[in-house]
Amino acid sequence: MSVLELLKVGKSYGEGASEVHALSDVDLSVDRGALVAVMGPSGSGKSTLLTIAGSLEEPTSGDVVVGGNSLLTMSRDDRARLRRRSIGYVFQDFNLLAGLTAVENVSLPLELDGISQKAAHGAGMTALEELGLLDRANRYPDELSGGERQRVAIARAVVGEHQLLLADEPSGALDSVNGEGVMRMILAACHRGVAAVVVTHDAQLASWADRVVFLRDGRVADQTMAPPSPESLLDPAAPTDLEH
């Protein structure tokens, strides 16, 4: 089942001579449990795609369907509720609130959605536990390392009933080891059924995805085929001719 569908999505900014087509005719479908990576040069429309997929911005043309619901026909309030209840975002700069502890940061979206503080706190602790952060739950963001802050941001994005995770350069300032950790966490969320779209310029991070979509000038230029079983890489029948 498709959790996210972009249907012929277009987005332009400005008018007349200064009009910029950030996205044109983008079709994208992400199934439950799938991890899709979006790669492309700077300015190719990656962030625009993500903000539209998360209903933070409206497309100029086309439609976005989340969990079977068309955003086009939805009221503003319903869209806001969908955002809080079903969609989690991870941004490059983590976006944690400095005055709240790790667990408060994670449970905030649930509280905003009207869930009791106690239930929200419980769900927040569960999400932190899954990411190995239970002992950091009561720390403030400035008492956490960069890698830990990023994990808290991911916990917040997957807390509760979120079915769609959208991440824009989620390993931003992290080193390769932590970058891999971030992708493992996102993958773990996918194994629990979350659908994820990760924007990255880093091919090593993108290669954790089931599918890699390449954007160019606001269009889907290409995408990877479903990779065959990795065992073939280690096939002893493969040529290993050392004689010379």
């Binding site: 290669s207 160019r216 280690l234």
Partner: protein, 213 residues
């Protein structure tokens, strides 16, 4: 045909057919013998498990390498019987020195390799009627697909053998550097064609002089 075969023959960058790797097999065997005397079959098994089975080795290759090491005085045979399988190898003092020197000698990366992919992109820039960006994307996708397969191999962290993980990381970084080069080439060519709509795109002769294509 395996994936391995089809993708690698396309680029011809596979480690195992690289001459430097043949040298590495020599030294890897020396390192295993440094732990104590061993039989050929045992060496093969230990070699494969120490590289996380990323570089399979057939038994003939083991014996060929051992006989060269013996010829060069780096290993010696305890019991000079005819049957290879009965022979027990041990490292010599000269072999230990060779191993120690090799560990500390940086690989020769000073000369740019005649990279097949670089040549393909250079040729594409010269051909009218060929969109070099499309050529670049074909290769970018192929690289990323290969990286997806390698990454899948380290997905199950609990069963991840350390030697194997290190070897897979090395492969991923190598492929990643190719993707980065393609990204930079893509941007450079785009800028160049915007800047000089009618001037011709970078030509090969300059490169030829420097790299000796």
């Amino acid at each position: 045909m395996t994936i391995c075969e089809s993708l690698y023959t396309q680029y011809d960058t596979r480690y195992v057919i690289d001459e430097r790797t043949i040298m590495s097999v020599r030294h890897a065997l020396l390192a295993l013998l440094d732990e104590g005397p061993k039989y050929g079959l045992q060496l093969r098994e230990e070699f494969e498990s120490s590289t996380g089975e990323v570089w399979p080795l057939n038994v003939g290759q083991v014996y060929t390498t051992l006989s060269r090491l013996e010829r060069d005085g780096l290993v010696e045979c305890e019991n000079a019987v005819d049957d290879d399988r009965q022979r027990d190898y041990r490292i010599t003092d000269q072999g230990r020195i060779e191993l120690s020197d090799w560990l500390r000698t940086p690989p020769d990366f000073s000369l740019p390799p005649r990279d097949e992919l670089v040549i393909k992109v250079l040729v594409a820039t010269r051909m009218s009627g060929v969109n070099v960006h499309e050529i670049i994307q074909v290769h970018r996708r192929a690289m990323v697909e290969l990286m997806q397969q390698w990454t899948r191999l380290k997905e199950d962290e609990s069963e991840l053998d350390l030697g194997f993980a290190l070897a897979v990381d090395a492969e991923l970084f190598r492929l990643d550097s190719v993707v980065r080069w393609l990204d930079v080439a893509d941007g450079r060519l785009k800028r160049a064609s915007l800047e000089s709509k009618d001037k011709s795109i970078p030509t090969m002769p300059k490169y030829r002089r420097r790299v000796g294509l």
